[in-house]
């Protein structure tokens, strides 16, 4: 039966004050986050909360007792394996041998290899806020900030925040995401950012010319954020405002592969070389 409460309840004004204080507090909290410095201080709290979320989405006690979690883990491992194999089998067979020959001919230094991790996406993949994904692999799994994420279609995004067991991936569809790209056939370079319609938009072309309608768009590797040659999508529309139909949207977003970017370290200073001596001598001369 419903409980009827009259208008003259004594506690009601207190509730109303409480409500307005809570609303004002939340608005103040939102406004405080417009300050970059305060926002940076809130980020560790958010990372810790993401880690806790990961714990809550782990298998329950019932699953552990019945063995369901063990089976699920095994299925997960096998699915991961199959996904990897399907992605790389054809590519590896056709290209590995040729690549080796080319590298020998050119005496080229290959990309430094790093640990790769397959992670499950935990939180929403298509939200209204920053187009970010929360993956269940973090620092303990070897993931670092700057890793890039791929699915079976192509490039998904870049790791922008890492917790112990979780990582946040900024999707390339985000308005604030910037990816240096190039056309596979035309060779033109540009910067791609996320458009409102879910497709990528190309801007800041250093060369004159137009992208070819339907040509593949790959990462150009400039800036060192992404390695060169990762598939992003295909040009649609061409002309003055070319857009990119993203390959990642053809694949599924439940799992992503996190890979290290080819980070090029600055050259080490050789103590014995004359230039290094000049560098070390310069400060003392300046003091004199």
């Amino acid at each position: 039966m419903p409980r009827y409460v009259g208008k003259g309840s004594r506690r009601r004004p207190l509730r109303r004050y409480g409500f307005f204080i809570a609303v004002a507090g939340l608005i103040a909290l939102l406004l405080l986050q417009t300050s970059p410095r305060l926002s940076e201080q809130i980020e560790p709290v958010r990372t810790a909360a993401s880690d806790q979320m990961f714990h809550m989405s782990k298998p329950s006690l019932i699953d552990r007792v019945t063995g369901a979690s063990k089976r699920e883990r095994r299925i997960f491992e096998l699915e991961t394996r199959v996904r990897e194999l399907a992605q790389y089998e054809a590519l590896a067979l056709s290209m590995a041998e040729r690549l080796e020959v080319y590298e020998d001919i050119l005496n080229m230094q290959g990309e430094p290899a790093g640990a790769e991790v397959t992670a499950r996406i935990m939180a929403e993949a298509d939200g209204p806020f920053a187009e970010a994904l929360l993956a269940n692999a973090g620092r303990l799994n070897g993931v670092e900030e700057g890793y890039y994420a791929e699915n079976d279609g192509g490039l998904v995004g870049r790791v922008v925040q890492v917790g112990k067991r979780s990582a946040r991936i900024l999707k390339i569809t985000d308005f604030n995401s910037r990816v240096p790209v190039m056309g596979e056939s035309s060779g033109l370079r540009a910067i791609m950012f996320g458009g409102r319609d879910g497709a990528g938009q190309l801007t800041d072309q250093p060369e004159s010319g137009a992208f070819i309608d339907g040509e593949r768009i790959l990462t150009s590797g400039e800036g060192g954020m992404f390695p060169r040659g990762v598939v992003i999508g295909r040009v649609i529309g061409g002309g003055d405002e070319p857009r990119v139909e993203l390959a990642m949207s053809r694949g599924q977003l439940s799992y992503v592969r996190l890979k290290p970017s080819a980070r090029i370290l600055p050259p080490e200073v050789d103590d014995t070389s004359p230039s290094a001596e000049a560098v070390t001598a310069a400060p003392s001369e300046a003091i004199e």
Partner: protein, 184 residues
């Protein structure tokens, strides 16, 4: 069959007799279950499923029983959890949930004292739509540009669908505004 109907009947009777705090706990448990399920992959047969904003349903439902500290606390707590999962600025979803809770309380006390069927159906729907609009506005402010409407619309559809299924769970059973002792 008889056993099932008897069980459902006894659950219904228990629910009618249950106190607001018990109803709040049950509603909160449903919120936790829906929220945690939303953390698992939502791709079925290759199609990404929009996950409903269950806290909005709770805010619209609980708000119809008037303001209260318990529901407010739960809604703020869930709002913060939503902020973390949706990469929204902290406090964003809590503010939306609380605003819808307050709007629902005000609208119910103004227009819905007798709980007519039209209001039972229309008011929560309007509140959920208002909540989604707030989410879109705040997301656009946070992003510095107008964000896409499609995810919001698909989430709205999913939320309205869920609302039709679970709305009774988010009724605290308190009728504010009527004089004490008057039965409906």
């Amino acid at each position: 069959m008889k056993t099932i109907s008897a069980l459902l009947g006894s659950i219904g009777r228990w629910w009618q007799r249950s106190r607001p705090r018990v109803r709040l706990m049950v509603g909160m448990s449903v919120l936790v279950v829906i929220g945690l399920t939303g953390l698992t992959p939502n791709v079925w047969f290759g199609v990404t499923i929009s996950w409903p904003y269950a806290a909005l349903i709770a805010a619209a439902g609980w708000g119809r029983s008037g303001l209260g500290f318990g529901p407010m606390f739960v809604l703020v707590l869930f709002g913060f959890a939503q902020d973390v999962t949706a990469s929204a600025p902290l406090g964003c979803f809590a503010l939306v949930n609380l605003a819808i809770f307050g709007a629902s309380a005000t609208a119910s006390q103004t227009f819905d004292i007798e709980r007519s069927r039209g209001m039972n159906f229309g008011l929560p729907m309007a509140m959920i739509a208002l909540g989604m609009s707030l989410v879109w506005i705040l997301a656009s402010f946070a992003g510095g540009h107008f964000v896409r409407l499609l995810p919001i619309i698909s989430a709205l559809m999913a939320t309205l669908l869920l609302h039709m299924l679970v709305a009774p769970v988010f009724d605290l059973g308190v009728r504010r505004g009527a004089h004490a002792g008057v039965s409906a």
